[in-house]
Symmetry: C2
Amino acid sequence: MAEFKVTPWDVEGMVDYDKLIKEFGTQPLTDELLEKTAVLTKSELPLYFRRRFFFSHRDYDLVLKDYEEGRGFFLYTGRGPSGPMHIGHIIPFFATKWLQEKFGVNLYVQITDDEKFLFKPNLSFEDTKRWAYENILDIIAVGFDPDKTFIFQDSEFTKIYEMAIPIAKKVTYSMAKAVFGFTEQSKIGMIFYPAIQAAPTFFEKRRCLIPAAIDQDPYWRIQRDFAESLGYYKTAALHSKFVPPLTGLEGKMSASKPETAVYLTDDPEEAGKKIWKFALTGGQPTVKEQREKGGNPEKCVVFKWLEIFFEPDDKALLERYHACKSGALLCGECKRYLIKKVQEFLKEHQKRREKAKDEIEKFKYTGELAREQWDKAIPEPLRR
Amino acid sequence: MAEFKVTPWDVEGMVDYDKLIKEFGTQPLTDELLEKTAVLTKSELPLYFRRRFFFSHRDYDLVLKDYEEGRGFFLYTGRGPSGPMHIGHIIPFFATKWLQEKFGVNLYVQITDDEKFLFKPNLSFEDTKRWAYENILDIIAVGFDPDKTFIFQDSEFTKIYEMAIPIAKKVTYSMAKAVFGFTEQSKIGMIFYPAIQAAPTFFEKRRCLIPAAIDQDPYWRIQRDFAESLGYYKTAALHSKFVPPLTGLEGKMSASKPETAVYLTDDPEEAGKKIWKFALTGGQPTVKEQREKGGNPEKCVVFKWLEIFFEPDDKALLERYHACKSGALLCGECKRYLIKKVQEFLKEHQKRREKAKDEIEKFKYTGELAREQWDKAIPEPLRR
């Protein structure tokens, strides 16, 4: 069996997701839970759930029960602004948007400009604040409800510090070290950071649901250890797989290797060229062989990208699968199809991203939920 | 020679202050510096300086130079709100008030309700916030300029978190451990705290002067290590001695032993009884012996309290000294004199403390300096 490694700071090799569920001690996202989701939302499931891009969870059953019984829940996710966002970063936000829309719940998006500055030796605070702005535009472009979504930067919404304090009294150096691998040379800001990341799970006295890639799960284990002792819920989570890099099915896309990813701000023409040049397919070495033996969609990044995001039509995807297997479809055609889909997406996203510049103030400060949170943060005499 | 120990969390034994200057590597507060202070402020020095209650410093010479050459400086001090304040806590605030008034400079007073909650296992966050309110009243009663003084609680003025981040990227766990003695079981909030305490030294792009008891000096050594690398000044400090407990010249007053201290909120009658009962004097066992041999003002807490704070008249103090040495003065008379002075002080202080309830908003939020700091902390769209 292929070796693989998944930690919050590293994903290597071909990931065995069933094994990951056992290793991390999470639960598989069952047919039953997905059916219940469809029933409660009176909606068809989007491809992220239908196709098991989200495949594992913690306490999602309890989230649905809370919703069913009127206690409700809220969503929390985040982004570490250390560079531009790519396709792999944005897909979980689309799944989150679906959840917000269908369940009608609040969403908190933490932009951890403090974390990225602290953990990246070569980034200045100015850098991460600048990336925060850029990344927020991409997030807004997904189309969240501006009155039910609060996007906050840790360096600005510093009320988060006060909320982190009781958490930081529950977590010892030894506990944090076990999860994050700190050493004597770790900076004291890094050591404190887990408290800042856990704080938003207490923004409401309801259960918190975090949709995120499974590598983020260890961060929440500490929260689940002490949450109840502070009178709150253990946070729930929905875990996604990774979007594979263009260059192969192993690992995840990396900001330091531009050929592995399509960035949301890439020029569509250039993105097309990049896919054409770097995308790994499951095809045979020659057209002749392909016609005879057929391709391997299971080993094909192009097919994976279509499956995960770019081909929402199940019937079309299945036809493509069989056409590939039978040798009727050649890799060039398939790549061109993906390129068209990616370019359409980028054009549309970039248009919405431009519009987001006018909406940023609402999501960060003046929307209903944002205003409510800031009102709690600013002392009364200064609000007059 | 008597053993003694001075760390930020413990003072034991009879302190040898000259030895402390050598051990801590600070500078003695020389006649020359005090004369320069008098000249620059065009004022007579108050007893705290005249009588060397402040006895040591770091870079106070540079502070005076900055002032002289028009660059100015600012003052920073603080209070950890874990209980009521006593005489020993308030005296450095009087010295600070003198410095503010005479140099006309800004003062920042940090109320560390986060620190006390994090470091005291038995205090709740609500407890330290409540003590913050009580302590702030005592501090305001000292008579600071409400437009040049910003009193802020860490749990409220959380902008401090953002300012602490670049500091927290400079300090490793190992550095913090060396100063604070952290262990594997230390809470991650405690480990981060040194960054929060250092942040106010960067509130202005001028040199910061911290008047505080010498046991606080180690906290600032870390600041002095990295300040210049962040483009700021190493902080300067003026170090005071400790006000001895009523019960003897060793150690310092302790909140856990009420007989050692006079609290600012003590009923003046009760305070008088406490002094009468517990104050250690340098007297002889009998009146007869006292008349023959004379007393020991050097070993007398009553005399020390008069010297440090309650007898500002140098001539009167000297006469008292000689009267004691000669046997003319008995301990009872001296105690009664101190009691009268303490009671007068308490009555006056408690009156001003009552008035402080109407001024608290100005010092915390709406005074000129407070407003300026909050304006930096609240994002523009929320200030409209």
